[in-house]
């Protein structure tokens, strides 16, 4: 196999676009949510300010090797996830590094950052961090299940695990989207999506009031900056998968921005309406409501 070195600047360009879009998008959604709560909300450039401030801060503190590596794991997870999936359909330029593996690679790579972050938080020795990880892992096991079922259903439907092929199969109008052709899988997948976005009602992991910010408690300055960078990239990277699987993918950056925004708004909308679940409640919710839909999706596909 010969590697085309042009892939590297191309991937970096994808990364650059997604980072900026992610920074703006998260701020925008936060603002919308604030407005829904009759608050004014943050300025749209607030994330840039925070990021620059934290990258600028200097610290002499570390709690150990894993603590140090935690944010690196986290951001590598976000960047890797983004680059393992083609961003723009039909564009060789923005197919990124998807030659390395298919959908399964992306799905399992999601855990790379989670695991590393959890280990880093663990070494900080702060009980709140450990409590947050315990909650997060418990919740994610239940939340992942409907997604796994949805992915399985979609893969059965299109007879492929290649993201590009799945998007290709959905071309030719909204009627070809998985949303229309396999709505149960989409519903199951979107239920799972709600669980993975750290928004209410599934945000007990960070739980600001009970365990101040959960796993990242001990992180500050450049560590936190790395994680904040990831917070801009990772949700978008995840939503790219949802977009590709369920909503016909995107053949241009404009379509990309619109679809990602709308997908994000699903969780924002639910988040402003529903109060927070405790962990066992959310696990039961996923098992009672989301999993049966996923099961129906794989049986009826």
């Amino acid at each position: 196999m010969t590697f085309e070195w042009i892939k590297i600047p191309q991937s970096l360009l994808t990364l650059f676009i997604v980072l900026n879009y992610g920074l703006l998008l998260t701020a925008l959604v936060q603002k919308i949510a604030a407005r829904a709560g009759r608050r004014h909300g943050i300025p749209i450039w607030q994330n840039y300010v925070d990021l620059l401030k934290n990258y600028g801060l200097r610290t002499n503190i570390t709690h150990g090797v894993m603590y140090y590596l935690g944010p690196v794991f986290r951001l590598s997870g976000g960047v890797g996830l983004l680059l393992f999936v083609p961003t723009i359909y039909g564009s060789e330029m923005f197919s990124n590094l998807s030659f390395a593996g298919d959908l399964i690679l992306a799905l399992y790579f999601i855990f790379f950052g989670t695991l590393g972050m959890a280990l880093g938080a663990g070494e900080s020795g702060h009980p709140h961090a450990a409590i947050g990880v315990s909650r997060g892992l418990s919740q994610v096991t239940a939340a992942e299940l409907p997604l796994a079922l949805a992915v399985f259903s979609v893969a059965l439907q299109y007879h492929t695990l290649s993201v590009t092929d799945i998007v290709a199969a959905q071309q030719g109008g909204v009627a070809h989207w998985t949303l229309v052709t396999n709505p149960l899988a989409v519903v199951a997948g979107m239920f799972s999506f709600l669980g993975s976005m750290m928004r209410s009602p599934f945000d007990v992991v960070l739980a600001p009031q009970e365990i101040p910010i959960g796993p990242p408690t001990e992180y500050h300055s450049s560590y936190l900056a790395l994680m904040q960078t990831n917070r801009a990239i990772f949700p978008v990277a995840k939503m790219v998968i949802y977009m590709n699987l369920f909503f016909g993918g995107a053949s241009s950056w404009a379509e990309f921005c619109l679809k990602i925004f709308l997908i994000y708004m699903v969780s924002a909308l639910v988040g402003v309406v529903f109060p927070r679940f405790r962990v066992e409640q959310s696990i039961r919710w996923f098992l009672t409501w989301a999993v049966p839909v996923g099961v129906a999706a794989i049986l009826l596909v």
Binding site: M1, R58, T59, N60, I61, T62, G64, M66, Y68, P71, F73, S76, V79, G80, L83, F99, A100, G101, I104, L105, Y108, F109, F111, F112, L115, A118, G122, S124, G125, H126, P127, A130, V133, L137, S138, V140, T141, A142, E144, L145, L149, F152, A155, L156, H159, L161, S162, P212, T217, S222, Y223, A225, L226, R278, V279, E280, Q281, I283, I298, L299
Partner: protein, 1045 residues
């Protein structure tokens, strides 16, 4: 050749001879008795040699110068010679064991002993029914006398009860003989056999029935045997040996000799009584806690089994002698040995047997006897069990097979409970010297057992287990025991590597993978054993090598016999290994009972498959047709799944793996479990899909695999004990592998193989890591640890790589398994089990994170501040595993490509396409090297950036955390660790209840409850016993009237 008459003459002569001596010359009297018994034994042995080696024909010895029926005649044939040799040798060795008692009681006791042995020999030799009666009377009188040899005050009562019951039997016998003589006109057995009058039934039939019942009563049938049990318990153990080994053999032979007179109609009666006795006595034995009474129950049971076999002699045909002989010989040698051993033990409870541990050779003898009784290879009982089940299955008698195997399982249960207790209980205080002569007798008997094993092996048409090189090598380690552990460890490594090297060219790819894991993998684990190689480490190496020998034999087994023998060998070896753990006694017992239960299922399956073929090749499983095929499949699958600890059959695993020694846990987890997978592989490759009552059995397997994956993972989440966590995780991992196999498609099998390799590596590595932590901290409770990362960095690194690989996160090798898994399930029509397996996947993250976090991260405890990294010998193999995990992640093709091609021979569809570094399936693609490079580049770049930003970071002190501007009180209260996933437990509620443990506990309780209840019928009252005997006679008569003409 010396005439067999001399056996009787010498016995009588010795008895009268000592009677003529002065009462005070006890030493001389004892010498004469021994000489007499030795001479009798020698005559028996000489005849045996002549029959077996020289091929001499059986002879009839006339007495009083006239042929029968005018005079009594004796027969000497191979069976008679063997039995007489056993009886006389037992008498001789028992006399040595009873030396003090005999010398104390004087010449009369010695005379009675000689008479007893002579009379027992007479029972075997004579062909005259009335003479038979006379010898029985002599035995009764002698027995009554010998019971009194014991110091036990209960012996007098036991002897009296014995006499009462014996008189009932004698009366029946005499009445029977009188009327049989009346009808048949002869007292000679051979004349009577041809006599139509007796076979015709009617009054003569009834008379014969009485005779038979009387003879059967001499074999102490269940439940009319309370008197015999009291004798066993109270008598001197030396006499117990005679009563069990010699008396029973003689009585059985008498039954065998006479039953021919009545014809085939009486045979079912014997089988029924024998089986009821076998199962009933073994069941009741379950609740026994006194060693000699337990031996009594076991004797009764074994004799019952032989009685059943006598009833089946027409059915067994020419194999009858091997079967009945094998069972009888195994019983006689083992039981005599155990009785003699019991004399070396002061107390009567099982724990007192811990005294034997002062002499390891006695433990060897004990193990030999237990294995002989349990019918394990390479002893005669094993061959007999194999032939018996095959013959019964071939004749369409599965219900008999079931009864025999259930009884045998009960028996194994109490034998191994006893053995485990002896090995694990605290030895009693006060060291008393064990007399050399008594130890010598026991050891000699044990060695005799091995010789008999070889005799039966050589005569077996299936193969000689003792002739297998791996087993011989393992046994050679017994001889090496005096060497230091370091030398033995090195030898063990060399042997395993050499075995792999020599087998390499002959393995097919599947065998190659399993052989690499067993032999090379075993060698790597042995490296860790250097950390424990102080002193001799007695018992470890023979056990471990026995397990590896079994595994090696299993992989190359060509026929079902070889496969089954290997299976049993590896089971015994691993049982001894597991038993070595400090707290492992109940878990080892549970393991061996489940394993033997599984082995019996396999045995029944093979027997059902073989039908009438003597030597059945494994490839022949392909040809097994309906309606047997699905049953064969079920039996074999259940057997194999006891080893893979599939859900429902898994309860032995957590304790067994967790309580095992540090270097044993990876052996029994990383390697031993693979035996079950190998079996399932073999089964599915040969038999493919089978359906029973319209249910696709592979679908059932699929569900079992999925449920095992889910529940194994789930239970692992809630463990506080690190090794238990890993053990439960093994159940889950094996569930995945079973699931993969049951998918019955190309990628499913490939995934199962990937799990075989991966699970060996990361589970062995993790068990060694946790073992190292245990060695340093002295605890396995994770919440007692914390913050060990800085003190044990290498161990932490190994665990980190292990859990990343296990969780399936790219870029390590676990991901390959997941990728193949996803591709495999796309090919299967069964979709619902997927839901379960999907649910179990992420749960693995929970326990893996808990493992690494609770031990290595969080708050360091005060008592651990000074601990060091684990010993280098534990670290070295872990680093090897880490290297291999990374290597296998990059180049899975090194191991999988050939296997992929091999699987294509069975399932050609949807093989993987190995195109350079990219692996493609029908659905997706995967390029391990690219993945690794991309991830490493991103990671290193970001890390470099962080280092650039944050280059001056320094470690701060432990409690320097954001804690509301306060300092935490103690690490214990700050380390969030205990019941880490409490919300998860709350959410899943009933799924986390131990239903299967409760189920099996209820079964065990019920059995023990029955046993405890039923044994109350043995009140110890002589009248009650007599009444029970009469009741037994009435019931048998009543039942037999319906069966006989």
């Amino acid at each position: 050749m010396v005439s067999p008459l001399f056996i009787l003459a010498i016995g009588l002569g010795a008895a009268f001879g000592v009677g003529l001596l002065d009462a005070r010359s006890r030493g001389l009297a004892f010498a004469i008795t021994l000489a007499g018994l030795a001479a009798m034994s020698a005559i028996g042995a000489e005849w045996l040699w002549a029959f077996v080696v020289d091929g001499v024909q059986p002879i009839m010895v006339m007495t009083a110068g006239a042929p029968p029926p005018f005079a009594i005649n004796l027969r000497m044939g191979p069976a008679e010679a063997a039995l007489v040799a056993i009886i006389c040798l037992t008498g001789l060795l028992s006399a040595i064991q009873m030396r003090e008692a005999l010398l104390r009681l004087g010449r009369r006791a010695m005379a009675v002993l000689s008479i007893a042995v002579m009379a027992l020999s007479g029972i075997v030799l004579t062909r005259d029914v009335f003479n038979l009666f006379v010898f029985f009377e002599l035995v009764v009188i002698a027995t009554g006398g010998l019971v009194l040899l014991s110091d036990d005050p209960r012996a007098t009562a036991a002897g009296f009860k014995y006499l009462v019951v014996s008189q009932v039997a004698s009366m029946l016998m005499l009445i029977g003989i009188v009327f049989v003589y009346h009808a048949g006109g002869s007292l000679n057995v051979d004349d009577l056999i041809g006599s139509p009058a007796v076979a015709a039934g009617g009054a003569a039939g009834l008379a014969f029935l009485l005779l038979m019942i009387a003879l059967v009563l001499e074999t102490k049938p269940f439940p009319a045997n309370g008197w015999a049990l009291d004798v066993y318990e109270a008598a001197h153990p030396g006499f117990g040996a005679i009563f069990s080994a010699a008396s029973a053999s003689a009585a059985l032979y008498a039954v065998d000799k006479v039953v021919g007179v009545g014809g085939a109609a009486f045979l079912p009666m014997l089988t029924a009584i024998g089986l009821v006795t076998f199962v009933g006595a073994n069941l009741l034995a379950l609740s026994q806690t006194v060693d000699r009474r337990l031996l009594g129950y076991s004797s009764v049971a074994q004799v019952g089994l032989v009685l059943a076999v006598i009833g089946l002699r027409d059915l067994l045909g020419e194999r009858y002698l091997m079967v009945a002989g094998g069972l009888l010989v195994a019983h006689a040698v083992a039981k005599a040995g155990l009785f003699w051993l019991s004399e070396l033990v002061a107390g009567r409870d099982f724990a007192a047997w811990a005294a034997l541990r002062r002499r390891p050779i006695l433990i060897f003898a004990f193990a030999t006897f237990v294995a002989m009784l349990a019918g394990l290879p390479p002893f005669p009982g094993f061959y007999a069990k194999w032939e018996l089940t095959h013959a019964l299955m071939a004749q369409g008698r599965p219900e008999l097979v079931a009864a025999i195997l259930v009884g045998a399982l009960f028996e194994a249960g109490y034998l191994f409970r006893w053995f485990g207790r002896a090995l694990k209980a605290t030895p009693p205080e006060g060291v008393s010297d064990l007399p050399v002569s008594k130890v010598g007798v026991v050891v000699l008997t044990a060695l005799g057992g091995w010789v008999l094993g070889e005799v039966w092996g050589a005569a077996s048409p299936y193969g000689d287990v003792l002739g297998a090189t791996p087993l011989l090598v393992a046994l050679a380690f017994l001889a090496l025991e005096p060497l230091s552990a370091r030398i033995k460890n090195t030898l063990a490594i060399v042997v395993l590597v050499a075995a792999f090297a020599s087998g390499w060219p002959h393995f097919d790819p599947l065998q190659l993978i399993f052989a690499a894991i067993v032999l090379l993998g075993g060698a790597v684990i042995f490296v860790a054993s250097y950390a424990f190689a102080d002193g001799r480490r007695t018992g470890f190496y023979p056990s471990a090598m026995l397990m590896y020998a079994g595994l090696a034999m299993l992989i190359v087994a060509k026929d079902t016999f070889g496969f089954f023998a290997a299976w049993e060998v590896l089971t015994i070896g691993s049982y001894f290994l597991i038993l070595r753990g400090k707290q492992s006694e109940p878990h080892a017992l549970s393991y061996v009972v489940f394993s033997l239960g599984g082995a019996f299922a396999i045995l029944a399956g093979f027997a059902l498959a073989a039908e009438t073929t003597a030597l059945f090749p494994i490839a022949g499983l392909k040809q097994v047709a309906a309606p047997f095929a699905p049953w064969v499949f079920v039996l074999l699958a259940v057997g194999f799944m006891t080893k893979t600890a599939s859900i429902g059959l898994h309860i032995w695993l957590p304790g067994a793996h967790a309580e095992a020694e540090t270097d044993v846990s990876p052996m029994v987890s990383g390697i031993l479990l693979k035996a079950g997978l190998f079996g399932l592989f073999m089964l599915l490759m040969q038999m493919g899909r089978q359906s029973l009552y319209g249910v696709d059995l592979t679908l059932v397997l699929l569900w079992i695999g999925a449920a095992s994956a889910l529940l194994g993972n789930l239970m692992a989440v809630f463990q506080e004990d690190a090794k238990r966590l890993l053990a439960y995780s093994s159940i889950g991992q094996m569930g995945y592998a079973v699931f993969g196999l049951a998918l019955m498609n190309h990628l499913g099998w490939l995934m199962a193989l990937m799990f075989v390799i991966n699970h060996y590596i990361y589970k062995s590595s993790l068990f060694l890591s946790v073992g190292g932590v245990y060695k340093r901290t002295g605890t396995r409770e994770m919440y007692r640890m914390g913050g060990l990362i800085t003190l044990m960095p290498l161990t932490f690194f190994a665990v980190l790589v292990g859990i990343v690989a296990m969780s399936g996160v790219p870029p390590l090798s676990g991901f390959g398994g997941r990728w193949i898994f996803y591709n495999a399930i796309l090919d299967t029509p069964a979709r619902l089990p997927m839901v379960v397996i999907f649910l179990s996947g992420p749960i693995a993250f929970l326990y893996l994170f808990r493992l690494i976090h609770t031990i290595f991260l969080g708050q360091l405890k005060d008592e651990h501040r000074r601990i060091r990294e684990a010993p280098i010998w534990l670290i070295a193999p872990q680093m090897l595993y880490v290297a291999f995990l990374i290597g296998f992640a990059l180049f899975p093709g090194l191991a999988l490509r050939k296997v992929d091609a091999f699987i294509s021979r069975f399932i050609p569809e949807h093989a993987l396409n190995w195109d350079g570094l990219t692996i493609t399936s029908a659905y997706g693609y995967w390029n391990p090297v690219s993945i690794m490079i991309v991830i490493v580049v991103i990671f290193v770049t970001l890390l470099a950036w962080l280092v650039f930003l944050n280059r001056r970071a320094q470690m701060v002190k432990q409690f320097n955390i954001v804690f509301a501007a306060e300092r935490p009180y103690r690490p214990e209260t700050t380390h969030f660790a205990w019941n880490f996933f409490a919300p998860y437990r709350r959410a899943l509620g009933p799924l986390t209840e131990p239903y299967f443990e409760r189920f099996w506990q209820a079964q065990t309780d019920a059995l023990h409850g029955w046993a405890g209840f039923a044994r109350r019928f043995y009140t110890g009252d002589g009248q009650v016993y007599a009444f029970q005997v009469v009741g037994f006679v009435v019931i048998v008569c009543w039942a037999a009237m319906g069966m006989t003409p």
